[in-house]
């Protein structure tokens, strides 16, 4: 790794960290480094200062807050996927996190780092979006809550302002009767998903009462498959679900790259959404 020269600070408090980021508009927060370091290595990013968040214990850990779970931004993927609280209260987060890259990355990479990087090909943004998570940020001016629907602004661009640090995300507990699945389509185990579908489904009496669907890599930001969600309300398992999922690519604008052209991604979104819903609904 041969990055360009940068300064490095490792604040001992959140206030110091906010100050360090606010005082230099080219400073960058360093969490687990699994996305930032490759950019530095390839000299695609030239931050003036790296503000290492690694010594701020208040940013790590998973907390039960009654109607939601709060996951600290610096909690590693490995900690998230092994947390009994996350597994019981928001299993979609746990089972999706278990698909992130490989064990080495999951031990370094962080929940908040992945969200703040706002890569639409990352797995967790679509999950937090599907679950209507709320992201909590802090700056010198204080704390701010940002609904996931407003957090992901564009490709690699979040709603975080200069000088703001992501503290973590509130993940609402959906309660009983929900099933979950993350359907990830990738060519090799360690490759980015070509398309991913995060699904939460509440089912009763053979039909679907409610569905939340987040799409990975189907546009510059993670997306909700709203058309499918409404079509699934009251849909009976079988043909009705199949038909509803045909709308999965509506409102998406997937890019074309070496692994897939947009029309193929749209096709995959339909197939994978159907599979995700079926699995989440417990009818493989």
């Amino acid at each position: 790794m041969i990055p360009a020269t940068f300064d490095y600070v490792r604040p001992g408090s959140l206030d110091e960290a906010c100050q360090a980021l606010a005082s230099d508009e080219d400073a960058k927060a360093l969490a687990g480094g699994q996305s930032l370091l490759p950019l530095l290595r390839l000299r695609l990013a030239y931050p003036s200062t790296l503000v290492d968040l690694g010594r701020l214990p208040e940013l790590t850990g998973v907390h039960d807050r009654g109607d939601h779970v709060f996951i600290g931004a610096m909690t590693t993927h490995d900690e998230v996927m092994r947390s009994s609280l996350v597994n019981s209260a928001c299993p979609l987060v746990a089972l999706t996190t278990a698909t992130v890259a490989d064990p080495a990355v999951r031990h370094r990479g962080t929940f908040g780092g992945s969200l703040a990087h706002a890569d639409p090909a990352a797995d967790l943004p679509a999950v937090v979006l599907a679950l209507d998570g709320v992201l909590v940020a802090r700056s010198a001016e204080g704390e701010r809550e940002i609904p996931a629907a407003e957090f992901f602004v564009d490709y690699l661009e979040s709603a975080l302002r200069p000088g703001e640090i992501l503290l973590g995300a509130r993940i609402p507990k959906l309660g009983d009767g929900w099933g979950y699945h993350y359907e990830k389509f990738h060519r090799t185990a360690q490759a980015w998903p070509i398309v991913g579908v995060a699904a939460a489904v509440r089912r009763s009496n053979g039909s679907i009462q409610e569905a939340r669907i987040g799409l990975t890599n189907m546009g510059p930001t993670p997306l909700r498959a709203r058309a499918v969600e409404s079509a699934l309300q009251g849909a009976e398992l079988g043909d009705q679900v199949r038909q509803a999922c045909e709308q999965a690519a509506e409102g998406t604008s997937p890019s074309g790259d070496l692994h897939a052209q947009p029309d193929y991604r749209r096709h995959l979104a339909r197939v994978l959404t159907h599979r995700a819903i079926r699995t989440a609904a417990g009818s493989p």
């Binding site: 041969i2 389509f185 060519r187 185990a189 070496l258 692994h259 052209q261």
Partner: protein, 800 residues
Amino acid sequence: MTELDPGLVGEQIAESDQISEPGGTGGEIGRSRRRKEDARLLTGHTRWTDNLVQPGMLYVMFLRSPMAHARITRVDVSGARGLPGVFAAFSGQDFADEQGSLPCAWPVSEDIVIPDHPPMAVSEVRYVGEAVACVVATDRYRAADALEAIEVDYEPLPAVVDMNDALTEGSPKVHEAGNQAFTAKITSGDIEAAFRDAPVLIDRTYIQQRLIPSAMEPRAVLASTDGDGFTLWTSTQIPHVLRVMLAVTTGIPEHKIRVVAPDVGGGFGSKLQVTAEEVLCLLLTRRLGRPVKWTESRSEGNLTVHHGRDQIQHIRVAAESDGRIRGLQVDLLADMGAYLMLVTPGIPMLGAALYNAIYKMDAYEFGCTGVFTTKMPTDAYRGAGRPEATYAIERVMDELAAELGLDPVEVRRRNWIRHEEFPYTTIAGLTYDSGNYEAATDRAMALFGYDKLRAEQADRRDRGDPVQLGIGVSIYTEMCGLAPSRLLGESNYGAGGWEHGTIRMLPTGKVEVITGTSPHGQGHVTAWSQIVADTLGVPFEDITVLHGDTAISHKGMDTYGSRSLVVGGVAVLQACEKVKDKARKLAAHLLECSPEDLEFAEGAFQVRGTDSRKTIQELAFAAFTAHSLPEGVEAGLDSDSTFDPDNYSFPHGTHLCAVEVDTETGMSKIRSYVAVDDVGKVINPLIVDGQVHGGIAQGIAQALYEEAVYDAEGNLLTTTMADYLLPSAADLPTFVTDRTETPATSNPLGVKGVGEAGTIASTPAVVNAIVDALRPRGIHDVQMPCTPERVWRALEGVRR
């Protein structure tokens, strides 16, 4: 889930688990010894080139062309020279008078064009990544910063990316002489007669995509001088060849150059090269008087390590209505890239005599055109010519079977050389010394559960299952043991094919083996120890193997083309025999008997019918003290030997692959894989299994994952591992491997070589399986790599 017979699988696993532990003498050959190398390599006690440090060492980095083709109108390195930590900065012009031209040692034809290939471009760049300037600094960070301060002006010239376009009249030229590098043609038998009125004609075109060799250890070079001579440590497969070539290229006398290949972390052919960086590091240390080191980054490597494959194969088969082949016609376009490197033009020619493969036929014609493009040059990559040939013939045999409604194994059976017909001289002129395709195929089909899988396939077809099952057959042979020097001479190759081995009995009875092969992951230290232990009767642990340093291993032809055991292992065996001959004379002298009265067993010479004996260790000490030597016998118990085989060796085998193709997404998933290989006698089954596993993985990678992609402007798009996909263990199935053993007759060990067999066999096995799954839908080809998107588009094409 696999459908394998559990009893057979159990037998396989049991075999691999029987790993021998140290102790005892004799019976080493054929034992699954754990490798001597591994404890050191796996615990980080390694000597990779990048770990080496010399006093006063400086770091080199190269500025590389962002243009595929351009005239260089200005290079200004002055901005870099003033920066902190920067020791020197140079343009190609600064070395124009001394850098020479990178060598091509295999002018395969009379009409070949070998363009000048300056290590650092001077006036024109011809591929993205070609070095145009360099910086020498106190550390790599400063060097990288300084590269950004160098200014280069380019006057763009048109990129030449596509081989067919390159050969059209009026195409922009890569070189002044044009875009055709060479042409070659081989004809045997009456090809016209074979194709005239043939009842069956199959005509196909296959594309061998461009691949990027991805050795675990990136390339690295460290050069230093003591003011008189030069030492070059480099991550190479070929220290001996490199030393000669560096002398020829730079004019530095050969005896002033020492080349060391320390621990080398894989090569797969990519380190069978004389690289620009090696030449330039040598010249930089000469100019600066300081040690200099260069280590590539992975992205730099993707751009500039020589690439592999990249051929368009037009193949035609004429056959009788019962499937018997009359004639075979092959016409290749082979992408050379921008220059001819060490053996670039030889790569397609290594397959020239193998398209006919294991099959009998009346006529054969092979044609090849080498084409220049503005891309990274191609050269050897695991298998080198043989995977391409095997792929085309094994794909087309499946097409022939489908055309005739025959089972793919049956159509092969009707054409292959039967075991009782060996030795067999093929239509292409090679003489296969031994083989038994029937035995390997029968064994593979039993392990695979062939009939049961065919039944399941039929069932899935009948049910219209969205997940279809395909069965891929690949029955291959290849040629190893490069090579008889006489045959290499006939093909105009720039060197011989012999190998050298030395045995030094040390005074205490321990053994130093020196080999001219240059292992970079193969396990020669272990395998050579097994050969020596059995031949001299010394304990396995008492043997050390030295290699990879031209000051220690003074003669050698290095490691590539599955040649090391077949040629180098035999040289070691012969050196042992010479040591034994001398030891016998000495023993007879000391025991006061005639040499003929002595029998050698378990490491000692014993007077027949008595208990009077001398061990080889005692004799080594006696030869060292030299207190009492027989007349005309010199002190010391050492020997040198070279071996030059009189024929290639021909491993063969049958690989069967079952693939599940998800017709909704296009994803192909390998469900089971059986490989039964015949590599002749086996020295160490554990090493052979490892080579087969790794080889299969690499061949699967070509079938499913890997592809170097250039855009229309000649930019490489696959510069990182996020874009250039390599499979990991998580992506691969459990391989079931077994062997049949038909010894080679061309060497005294009966060995055939195993370094490339898996790669050669597996690519067509996988693609044949995918096509087999899709054939009822009207699909008869999917271009490699068979990505989910390509399979889906093929299905979309026939749905419309």
